[in-house]
């Protein structure tokens, strides 16, 4: 049909499994700068193995991973906030800091808490060890006056023996952390930590004339921040339909129901002006792979950011899967595994994971063309290469259903 395309080389499932396994078993010194956010890299690898259906690999590591993850939990009863640290260095620092009256006490953060909860859900932990009350407090302390969220908290010792206070102004706030706050609320099934109307105000103020969303109001709209905004709105819409947030929370803003029409088939529902402009901006990002902004080069991580946004909007059929797959295959490292940002660069865990989770939404990897994909791997005549991802949480649909039930 289209001339000039060669068939993509094969998806190296086994190599990708080995790639993530190797990462979990240890990384070279070049990863030292990732140390403060180690938990996020762990999540990429664990979720990558889950989407690649490496059941045994996860089973073998489950116990170690779960106890590692829980060792990062912040002590709510001590500090008045819960949630998770990004790495063990914060934990070891706190242990020593507590001994001195003026010690610096790093607090938990939203991205780490999101990555941690995802990891636990993927490992089929029932989250019974998660301090939900502490997470609610974390969210409350993290939300800024503008409705946005700060990335993390510090803990201040008000009185040398007992009283601690969390404060957030040492960390930037933007759409990334708005998303984390929503995903955390979805996974803990508790939206009371968020001032929803303030948050909606921030999200809609960050919408640009192009129809997508920026990290903060006034800035350029971007594939990553657009994903964060769309997923936040989508999760909020789901929560609204479940009655977890007030049904009129969006009365002063563009309607969530018109943005995500519930009736099927969503593919042909047109909906609000905001929805139409958003879809246009998203579909215009495809060259072969997706770009994050107009007139920028394609980048494999947008396979997820843009693809998942379209999926939530019920518009994933607008993606030219053949071209997208061809681009992604050029970024694949067929020898050591993983995917790179660009065809000429080196693979890294973030691009490897986001490219794989993006690909999992394509029909050729086994995702159903319908918006409600198959739940089970079993009983399918042609077994799927990948588990399809839940586009709003970025974990497999299978695992999210185990946590939340079918409705999300």
């Amino acid at each position: 049909m289209d001339g000039g395309f060669t068939e993509p080389s094969d998806f190296q499932r086994t190599r990708h499994i080995k790639y993530f396994e190797r990462m979990l078993d240890g990384v070279p010194a070049a990863f030292a700068s990732q140390e403060p956010n180690l938990m996020t890299v762990v999540y990429f690898c664990v979720s990558g193995l889950d989407l690649l259906k490496a059941k045994e690999s996860l089973q073998k590591r489950k116990e170690t991973l779960v106890s590692f993850v829980y060792s990062l939990q912040c002590n709510y009863r001590l500090f008045g906030v819960g949630g998770f640290y990004g790495s063990l260095s914060d934990v070891s620092l706190n242990a020593v800091s507590l001994q001195s009256p003026h010690g610096f006490l790093p607090g938990p953060g939203l991205a780490r808490t999101y990555a941690t909860l995802c990891t636990l859900v993927i490992l089929e932990d029932n989250l019974s060890g998660v301090d939900r009350g502490g997470i609610r407090q974390l969210l409350r302390h993290s939300q800024s006056g503008s409705g946005s969220f700060h990335g993390a908290l510090n803990i201040l010792r008000k009185d040398p023996s007992t009283f601690f206070e969390a404060f957030s102004e040492d960390y930037e706030s933007d759409m990334r952390f708005v998303y984390c706050a929503c995903a955390i609320s979805e996974m803990t099934n508790d939206w009371s930590g968020i001032d929803v109307e303030k948050m909606l105000d921030f999200i809609w103020k960050s919408r640009t004339y192009e129809g997508g969303f920026a990290q903060v109001p006034g800035a350029e709209c971007h594939g990553g921040s657009t994903y964060c905004a769309v997923a936040s709105l989508f999760l909020l819409c789901t929560a609204k339909r479940k009655g977890l947030v007030p049904s009129d929370c969006d009365r002063s803003f563009p309607s969530l129901d018109e943005l995500f029409p519930a009736e099927r088939p969503a593919e042909i529902a047109s909906g609000s002006k905001e929805r139409m402009q958003l879809i246009r901006w998203l579909v215009l990002r495809q060259v072969r792979g997706f770009t994050g902004r107009p007139n920028k080069p394609e980048d494999s991580c947008y396979t997820f950011w843009i693809g998942a946004s379209l999926k939530m909007l019920g518009a994933s059929s607008f993606v030219d899967e053949r071209r997208l797959n061809a681009f992604c295959m050029e970024t694949q490292d067929a020898i050591i595994g993983g995917f790179a940002k660009w065809p000429s660069s080196r693979s890294d865990p973030m691009h490897a994971y986001l490219c794989i989770s993006g690909l999992s939404m394509l029909r050729r990897y086994g995702s159903s063309s319908r918006e409600e994909p198959d739940v089970s791997d079993e009983g399918v005549s042609q077994p799927a290469l990948l588990r399809p991802v839940n586009p709003a949480l970025n974990i497999s649909i299978q695992k999210s259903i185990k946590l939340l039930g079918k409705s999300s």
């Binding site: 063990l88 800091s97 215009l284």
Partner: protein, 401 residues
């Protein structure tokens, strides 16, 4: 106070203190070369002398700048006498994803954690934070510590500004360093260098998201937005008309400038007409550039009626010159929709029917010829409009198109 004692102990380390000054003076020298002297020549001379003295003492090379960083990487804090009163806080290496840290990294962060944990706010603490930032500028705790120590020691924040400038030049896409700069500038309440600094970083990558976000923050926070900012975006667009960030920023300026000069809006009347002319000139120069087309849509948001004939002429002209850019055609779909809905050129159902036919034809051409990657999308757009207007025309009892 216990911490006071710790701090004075820290201050006693003269070497540490001057080493830090030495480094900062090197930054000032560099800035001066760029034409923005920050200190008198005399001060610089004294610091230069200090620098040389310290270099002699510590055996380090003449300039302990980041460029010659390798020279000192072999020295571990464990070996330095001025640190012998501190026990480093070792990193617990986990059972998951253990990192094979280099000895230098472990040493620096071990001492950095020790200083953070004891709450010592000192010159030597700043020194270890500087080393830690060199190894990992993305570690937020390093910057939190710096701000605390700088405030406690009442350090000259202009010196810190010079230091962070140099770090940002090395790591222009790092969230933490830009945030640190923002906080320092807010404390200084001196924004005089900021717009030039942002412009300088944009020279290397005119689409760097962090810089734009920072620039907007400065403009808003200090309320210093004025018309020169429009000229700035114009200059960047002259350099690269495909720079979507510059287009976005231009919109930000137009959106916020009125508030700055006490006007209602710049997005109406003569100023809007002028901005539309500006955009059209850029479209004519590069018809296939998505950015000005989107920008034009942004300008027209609630103003289609007033400027319909202008943009209609633009599209007709380009279309008749055989331009078939998907961005032109996509815009024409919007234009035809506006026309059918509001009857700018067509009043009768017959005329509207012809416009709808044209819209359908353009969608088909996009799907089949000019924008095949979005084949299904354009087919959907076509069907959506057919459905919308078919229903409308039927209710007006007009024959089906």
């Amino acid at each position: 106070m216990e911490s006071e004692a710790v701090i004075s102990k820290g201050r006693g380390q003269g070497d540490a203190e001057t080493t830090l000054d030495k480094e900062d003076s090197a930054v000032d020298l560099m800035i001066e070369v760029d034409g923005a002297p920050t200190k008198s020549a005399d001060t610089t001379k004294i610091q230069q002398q200090q620098q040389e003295d310290v270099a002699m003492q510590s055996g380090a090379s003449e300039s302990d700048s980041e460029e010659s960083d390798d020279e000192c990487t072999s020295i571990l804090f464990e070996e330095l006498p001025e640190w012998k009163d501190v026990t480093p806080v070792a990193l617990v290496v986990g059972s998951v994803m253990p990192i094979a840290f280099e000895a230098r990294f472990q040493s620096v962060f071990g001492y950095f954690r020790a200083i953070s944990a004891s709450g010592e706010l000192s010159e030597r603490g700043l020194q270890v934070a500087t080393q830690a930032a060199k190894l990992n500028a993305a570690n937020y705790a390093v910057w939190v510590y710096r701000r605390k120590a700088l405030a406690f020691l009442k350090r000259d924040l202009n010196v810190e500004l010079s230091y962070i400038s140099r770090v940002i030049e090395k790591h222009p896409k790092n969230y933490q360093v830009w945030y640190h700069r923002q906080r320092i500038v807010e404390l200084l309440k001196d924004w005089s260098k900021e717009l030039d600094f942002a412009a300088k970083i944009l020279k290397n990558d005119a689409k760097n998201y962090h810089v734009w976000q920072y620039r907007q923050h400065i403009l808003r926070h200090f309320q210093i937005l004025d018309h020169s900012e429009l000229q700035f975006t114009d200059r960047l667009l002259q350099e690269d008309v495909f720079n979507n960030s510059a287009w976005m920023h231009r919109f930000f300026v137009l959106d916020n400038l009125p508030k700055a000069c006490g006007k209602e809006t710049l997005l109406e009347g003569d100023s809007l007409a002028e901005e539309i002319r500006y955009t059209i000139a850029h479209i004519n120069a590069q018809v296939h550039n998505e950015s000005p087309w989107s920008y034009l849509r942004g300008l027209l948001r609630d103003n289609w009626k007033t400027h319909f004939s202008t943009v209609n002429e633009l599209c007709k002209g380009l279309y008749n010159q055989e331009h078939r850019s998907p961005h032109l055609l996509g815009f024409m779909v919007d234009l035809l929709d506006e026309d059918i809905a509001n009857g700018y050129t067509a009043s009768t159902a017959d005329e509207k029917g012809r416009l709808l036919q044209k819209l359908v034809e353009i969608c088909n051409d996009l799907a089949q010829l000019h924008d095949r990657v979005r084949q299904i999308y354009w087919t959907w757009i076509r069907d959506t409009f057919q459905f919308k207007y078919h229903k409308q025309f039927l209710s007006e009892t007009v024959p089906e198109v």
